[in-house]
């Protein structure tokens, strides 16, 4: 998240000993909690780098002194992992592509046009965003079943569009709002058509916003478990989260190292993307708000 660093009052004052002692205490508390929050992620990587047999011994090794990539190799040679990766990729990319196109249309319309029902449409975006997938999956399942789209890319993608589109509209609308209308108007004065002005002036400035929004949508769909679990239950095609869950409940008796390697393979790219887009998000907002 974008957090501006403001110096706390204590930092600018000569530190008295009592305050210094308090601060040291709070520092220790903060470090302990940081360790506690990071620990599960650390433990995942630690276990993934451990030989499988070592995990079936007590006491556990707190650090991978003799790291091995065997478990990763095991996952990467698993055919089901790759087919699930492909399926996840297809479902997610289709959903994000459709969502971003739809959301751009909606965001530009809501931001740049004044029309009857505009306010109602904005309220609708907010309300729809709040509909829990968990309360609709029964009839969504019946619907896809009726259309023969269970266990298929278009079926799951359609449901993911429902999941991703509303908040994508909301985010993108923020970005479009951030590009001054004056810029477009200046371009029309200089002889651009209005459509031309939009594509030459506003659209390029929306770039970072589109990327950030797209990646956020990608992460939501990529990580989604509930709908995938329900809609894919009767077939043999899996998204990665469902694959990991099936894999871990099948083999956990013997191979926790493999399960943790699978978790890491799913988590690490997602974490990296997440960190990247956090930056792009703040930059995009700044670019939108400041330029012009």
């Amino acid at each position: 998240m974008a957090t501006t660093e403001a110096p706390t009052p204590a930092a600018r004052r000569p530190v008295t000993t009592a305050r210094g002692r308090h601060r040291r205490l709070w520092n220790v508390v903060a470090l302990l909690f940081a360790a506690l929050w990071a620990f599960p992620v650390y433990w995942m990587l630690n276990s993934a780098l451990m030989p499988a047999e070592r995990l079936r011994q007590n006491p556990p090794l707190l650090a991978p002194l003799h790291p091995t990539l065997d478990s990763f190799a095991g996952i990467l040679t698993d055919r089901v992992f790759w087919t699930s990766l492909g399926f996840s990729m297809a479902v997610t990319l289709l959903a994000v592509l459709v969502s971003v196109v739809g959301a751009t249309l909606a965001a530009v319309t809501l931001s740049r046009f004044r029309f009857g029902g505009r306010r109602a449409a904005i309220v609708a975006v907010l309300v729809i965003q709040m509909i829990p997938a968990e309360a609709l999956f029964i009839s969504q399942y019946r619907m896809l079943d009726g259309w023969g789209l269970l266990n298929s890319v278009p079926g799951l993608s359609l449901l993911y569009v429902g999941l991703v589109l509303p908040f994508t509209v909301w985010m993108l609308k923020g970005f479009v709002d951030g590009v001054p209308v004056g810029l477009e108007e200046a371009a029309t004065v200089d002889g651009c058509s209005r459509i031309g002005a939009f594509f030459r002036v506003t659209f390029p400035l929306l770039g970072p916003g589109l990327v950030a929004t797209g990646v956020f949508g990608f992460l939501v769909a990529w990580n989604e478990y509930t709908l995938a679990f329900v809609m894919l239950a009767s077939g043999d095609r899996l998204t990665l989260p469902v694959w990991l869950q099936t894999f871990s409940s099948n083999v956990q008796e013997t191979d926790w190292s493999g399960v943790m390697a699978g978790s890491s393979l799913i988590a690490v790219p997602v974490i990296v993307l997440f960190l990247l887009v956090q930056n792009a998000m703040t930059k995009g907002m700044v670019a939108g708000a400041v330029k012009g």
Partner: protein, 331 residues
Amino acid sequence: MPEQLTPERLGAQVAPGALAPGGAPAAGARPRRRSAGQRLAPYLLLGLPVLLVCLALGYPMVRQLVMSFQEFGLAQQFGRPPEFVGLRNYADVVTDPYFWVVVGRSIAFCAVSAAVTMLFGVGFAVLMQHVSRLPRVLLQSALVLAWAMPPIAALTVYTWLVEPRYGFVNWLLTSLGLQSFDGYAWLAASAWTFFLVASVTVVWTSVPLVTLSTYAALTQVDEEVVEAAQLDGASGYQRLRHVLLPIVRPVVLLLLMLQVIWDMKVFTQIKVLQAGAGNNERTNLLGTYVYETGIGGGDYGMASALATVMLVLVLLMTWRYLRTLMKQGEL
């Protein structure tokens, strides 16, 4: 495309907060007569997004509502036309004592998880204001890490952490002298420890958003206000209690409301942890109960009624969030 950009319309209809920064009315523009095409343009542009939402959410919602008034079981799946039974499904739902057990459980789980999340979330934000740079950055990074972790990966890790024989938690507790945790099955042995683990995973995932938002809000509090309070002799606690927290209250309330909504409809955590527990009946919350009734048991009529009750619950809670948003003028 952006045809209707006359500043008059912008100025007249948009709340000040929503006005694009820098979008001040340009001098000399005048309202223009709009052709029918121009008036239709926004509706045409909205066509695709509206169609998508209707397909993915609107149609299933209507269908679910209809199905909740129908007898829709296994026979109907094999082609027998569903029969309207009025409110019978709803009557069956509310007269089933197990439904009330599940509702009570869901509310309790939601209340505890949301309260603990807010406590840690806001606590960490205040803590981050009182520590040196390095610990603050480390805590912030740890939180972002937890936030970015895919839920399913996090759940797998937690299942491994509480694994009875070789899990880290039991090893730690037994080395601390608590021998009763030797081989203890956190998920299977008791519903209490099951929900404890579930709640910890939910809190672990949810705290980062609360902390980072609250911290951002706290750093935007005008320092002069804080210093004035300090000059007036307010102690650190008093400054926090009477100056800082009231200012960030709207943000915190908003986060609390979102948290309650999210924790009320929790599904993934419970479903995945149930795979390691066995006895679903003792551990069902609303989400998993709907799943078991419908997809598991094939009674779509009942499940639709249940899901509709849940939807109404969540939307009722959401309504207050929306009103807050509207009051803040973000629309």
